[in-house]
Symmetry: C2
Subunit: 127 residues, 2 copies
Amino acid sequence: MASSAIDIAREFWRLMATNDFQAVGAVLAPEFILEWPLSGERIRGAERFARMNAEYPASGPWKFTIHRIVGGETEAVSDVDVTDGVQSARAISFFTVREGKIARLIEYWPEPYAPPAYRAHLVEPID
Amino acid sequence: MASSAIDIAREFWRLMATNDFQAVGAVLAPEFILEWPLSGERIRGAERFARMNAEYPASGPWKFTIHRIVGGETEAVSDVDVTDGVQSARAISFFTVREGKIARLIEYWPEPYAPPAYRAHLVEPID
């Protein structure tokens, strides 16, 4: 039975957590592309994707915490924390799935920021 | 007939585009909360949400470009560009819908960044 995009996104993160980035290719389509709209970059293919992850300057194995995955049969979005024990980051990833494989990922890496002053009288801190 | 979370998210952005922020309350649940995890802020209720939008230091009416909306019956995620003609920003918004109204929004506002050097040999520019 065909897996939903949500299932495939979970499997993607499970494979990423092995830190065997070649293994992630199991859920990537031959035409896989990953786009980062906010740096204007695109990477093509499972092989370059694996090299990119392996070559990232990391302080230890990557761990991933899935906050949420939303979606349906062919599209899903994950909200994930990434850390190597020293660096931490948040990835918001839009998955497009074709025939059970990830054909396209669009990723955002939002950074922490100070609460803006203009709305200080309207908000409360998150614990 | 009940609307899907995707329909409600579209209606939210249609109402936001009127720049009548009180009107947006039509799609917000009584228990509405909005959270910005990366600044650690939470805002409660349609009234404070409307004030926050009205008080934002803007140079003109806000325009919104929906890049994509992904989701299902009760959850959706939108990827939207926001501009007042001077400032531009990107909002990634996770919607949780209950009984046809938005009960929770979780928002990320990722910023542009320079392409990192470590992966320059593996990527191409997005046109």
